[in-house]
């Protein structure tokens, strides 16, 4: 049966060639769009590990020429901010924060322990301020700093990637060449670069007055329901305390929107284009099928006259279309399947193959739907009328 359809397609190869090439191109486009979409959606659905609501970040420039005076400024600023009724929690860190684009990275294989991690220096209130959930152990406190080793907190991703089969809590390694650290806690997640990004291994290192120039930013959690007026209050307080107007306040929600828009705007544009192409193709396909079937009325009449049922006619036309689309699919896949092996794609292989599957499903479905109505028209043709045409 299928061999017969194939023969019919081959007989009309001149007419089918365009349809065939067009289908191959459409397959490529939907493969690309679906795999990109699936890859981004998977990132989006993986947990963040912190809470971005009601958060502000203040970028500071504290004059650290006199470190004693700077220390006083730092302490009193935090104290005064916490005293504001709208503010829940305040934490100092380096200029790295969720959604703000800055990252610091470090990796080495001192003592045979190989790692590569994003990191930041943050004070002891950081986990509390950002509501970072801990998987095991705890976040460092001021008391922990008294020990011989620098206490650090790593993310679960860090443990999975570099510490297979090792107990993380109590593990010691050299983060920098001269800095031996001890892991005292593991955070569940810290996907800070954006909702649509892959989570990188992360390390929190404690921030101390010994490196006072690292007090670069403040994270502030306000009470739920606090209006935008609090920004003015924070602004005035920071200006008074640091005696400088060289700082900036960012609502994390705005940064999040901004960072995410860099993914969802291209994604939306791609889907818009793909949907348009699919509609365009399906309407074209529908039109072409109607015409082709109208032209083949004599053939249909003849088949009916010698006893073919309506169902058989219907099956013939949908069958022919499905054979054609399968051929196009096979050819499209032969090229597409090689791409992840010869070029480095910005998406993972399994997402790519899932995207190919989903895309193929959509195109097959559409081709099937587009062929139903014209095939039905063919099937209900009366043999007498059809033969009369000839």
């Amino acid at each position: 049966m299928i061999a017969h359809y194939f023969k019919l397609i081959w007989k009309r190869k001149g007419k089918n060639a365009f349809l065939f090439v067009q289908l191959i191109f459409v397959f490529w486009v939907v493969f690309a769009v679906f795999s990109y979409g699936i890859s981004k959606f998977r990132y989006y659905s993986s947990p963040l590990g912190f809470d971005w609501k009601d958060m502000y970040r203040v970028y500071l420039s504290i004059n650290t020429a006199d470190s004693t005076a700077a220390g006083v400024t730092i302490e009193s600023l935090k104290h005064d901010l916490k005293a504001l009724p709208e503010i829940d929690q305040v934490s100092y860190s380096v200029n790295v924060a969720p959604y703000l684009g800055n990252t610091w990275g470090n990796g080495n294989d001192n003592d045979g322990f190989n790692f590569n991690s994003r990191y930041m220096y943050a004070d002891e209130d950081y986990a509390d301020t950002w509501k970072i959930k801990m998987k095991s152990g705890r976040f460092y406190t001021k008391e922990d700093l008294a020990g011989k080793y620098l206490p650090v907190v790593v993310s679960q991703k860090f443990v999975e990637k570099f510490m297979k089969g090792k107990e993380p809590i109590g593990f010691r390694f050299r983060f920098f060449k001269e800095k031996e650290v001890e892991i005292i806690g593991v955070a569940e997640h810290f996907k800070f670069q954006g909702d649509f990004t892959e989570e990188d291994p992360f390390t929190f290192l404690p921030l101390t007055f010994s490196s006072i120039d690292l007090y670069q930013a403040l994270s502030i959690r306000v009470k739920p329901g606090t209006g935008p007026d609090v920004e003015k209050k924070i602004n005035d307080l920071v200006e008074q305390t640091t005696k400088s107007s060289d700082f900036g306040i960012v609502k994390i929600e705005a940064g999040r929107k901004n960072t995410n828009s860099r993914t969802y705007i291209p994604l939306a544009a791609m889907f818009f284009l793909a949907v348009f192409l699919i509609i365009n193709i399906s309407m074209g396909l529908f039109g072409i099928l109607r015409y082709n079937i109208a032209r083949r009325i004599p053939e249909i009449g003849l088949r009916k006259a010698i006893g073919a049922s309506s169902g058989a006619i219907r099956r013939q036309f949908t069958g022919e279309m499905l054979v054609l689309v399968t051929l196009a699919f096979v050819l499209a896949v032969i090229f597409a399947v090689q791409i992840p092996f010869i070029a480095s794609l910005p998406i993972e292989k399994d997402a790519y193959f899932m995207g190919m599957g989903a895309g193929a499903l959509v195109i097959f479905g559409i081709v099937y739907l587009c062929s139903i109505f014209p095939s039905h028209q063919a099937a209900v043709t009366l043999p007498a009328k059809a033969l009369h045409e000839e």
Binding site: F18, G248, N280, M283
Partner: protein, 467 residues
């Protein structure tokens, strides 16, 4: 099966009739054909208008971003120097042994020297340029006609009505206003004295002035308070730019003398947060400026263990492409445009194939007409022109719908600030490009079907067709 019947067939004049009459007839036939089968007309028009809309929108974005529009009318003569790198090469210790015999005893002399491995980069520090580098070296360059130094990133939070408003500032010198031809709605650029005397003057972008002061007939002389730096008097209002080039898209401009020393020069001599723009006399002089930059960077005095300095120059297209690909060290403007055009071409293939396919399939609808025309002596070329013309008419109809859709979509995108604060406009070059795209699309999608139609044999055409 009314598809078979050609409701009204105009018997077309013989080929010898004058051109004007012929086109008129072709036009009449085309409209009749369009109205005869509304489903197929709708399918074709939908495909054409949406495809053209996408192409028009893409060309509008590129034209707005990269076209020679104010304030970047001289963009072909401008080189931006947004970043600077200092590189230190790897070093290895070379120990040389020297044996000498002193008083009958062998003595070994070891000398340790450090050898620099040329080209193997061990450390790399990059940032924008320092003001000192501009003052001492770049401003003294011979090939540029003009050069300007500015700090293009100075965010400022202000609270005009108790609500926060974040404005981005640009600290400029006097030449800046000669290189970039901003259109002033009122007032004018800074004078050299204002820059030298650190005057409290500010130039605002129209939309920023609206946000800060609310709607006013004139903004001149009003004051904007910049934190502890105090009030600044508005001396000029510039119109909004359509480009997102970071060197010109600031909300406000103040004299560069207001920049702090720590911003202008970092402690590593040549690194700072300044951007320099060089203006060549002619577009062809740009390459000579690049050559002079190469000589200049190799003549810089080596400091802080750096062995090589690189000034990274970029033109307007490279600056735009940098947001999407490449690094500060690469110039990707050309590659970026190649990729964009490649993707657009790929995108164009599917609707064109679709249209060609549809048109080719519909040939037989016209076979009786073709048969009659051929029997009366029409040449193949006459038919080819006729069908191509018909396809151009439907393409231009689609093009008009496409332009309307593009303008609607542009307004929506501008309103939603999808492209940040830059505004898309459907200007004359965009219209011209759109017409050109429509024409190319019409020819590409119409040629093959028209050729096939014109090749139909007379006898067959007359036989199948029903009159």
């Amino acid at each position: 099966m009314d598809n078979y019947h050609i409701a009204s067939l105009s018997v077309v004049n013989c080929p010898s009739s004058i051109e004007k009459n012929m086109l008129k007839n072709y036009f009449k036939i085309a409209i009749k054909v369009l109205r005869r089968n509304k489903l197929y007309t709708f399918i074709s028009l939908f495909g054409i208008s949406f495809t053209l809309m996408v192409l028009m929108l893409a060309s509008a974005v590129l034209e707005n971003e990269l076209g020679a529009n104010p304030p970047l009318s001289k963009k072909d003569r401008i080189l931006f120097l947004p970043s600077f790198s200092g590189q230190g090469f790897e070093r290895e210790k070379v120990t040389a042994y020297d044996t000498t015999e002193v008083d009958g005893v062998m003595k070994i002399d070891t000398t340790v020297t450090t050898r620099v491995i040329e080209g193997k980069v061990a450390s790399n520090s990059s940032s924008s340029l320092s003001y000192k580098l501009y003052k001492d070296k770049l401003s003294k360059m011979k090939t540029p006609e003009l050069s300007s130094v500015f700090v293009d990133y100075a965010p400022l939070d202000v609270y005009p009505q108790g609500q926060k408003l974040t404005l981005n500032g640009n600290l400029t010198d006097a030449n800046y206003w000669k290189i970039f031809d901003f259109r002033f709605k009122e007032g004018g650029p800074f004078t050299r004295e204002a820059i030298d005397n650190q005057a409290n003057v500010i130039i605002l972008r129209e939309s920023a002035a609206l946000k800060y002061f609310g709607k006013q007939a004139s903004y001149l002389g009003k004051e904007l308070v910049w934190g502890l730096k105090g009030p600044f008097k508005v001396v000029g209002i510039v119109k909004d730019a359509s480009t997102s080039n970071r060197s010109v898209m600031a909300d406000f401009f103040v004299p560069i003398s207001w920049a702090g020393e720590s911003e202008l020069n970092y402690n590593q001599e040549y690194l700072g947060s300044c951007v320099v723009a060089l203006l060549a006399k002619e577009p062809s002089d740009v390459s000579r400026m690049e050559e002079e930059l190469r000589t200049l960077e190799s003549s810089l005095e080596k400091r802080n263990d750096f062995d090589r300095y690189i000034i990274h120059e970029k033109n307007a297209a490279d600056i735009y492409a940098w947001q999407f690909m490449g690094t500060q060290a690469t110039r990707e403007g050309g590659n970026f445009l190649k990729i964009v055009f490649g993707v657009l071409a790929f995108f164009l293939v599917i609707p064109i194939l679709n249209l060609v396919n549809l048109n080719v399939t519909r040939i037989f609808e016209r076979s009786s007409e073709i048969g009659v025309r051929k029997a009366f002596g029409a040449k193949t070329s006459n038919l080819l022109v006729q069908f191509l013309f018909e396809n151009l008419i439907i393409t231009f109809l689609g093009g008009i719908i496409g332009i309307i859709l593009t303008v609607l979509l542009m307004n929506a995108l501008n309103h939603a600030e999808v492209f940040g604060t830059s505004r898309l406009t459907f200007n004359f070059p965009v219209l011209f490009i759109s017409i050109f795209i429509t024409f190319v699309f019409g020819i590409l999608s119409g040629f093959l079907p028209a050729w096939r139609i014109s090749q139909t044999p007379v006898a067959g055409a007359l036989k199948t067709g029903k009159l």
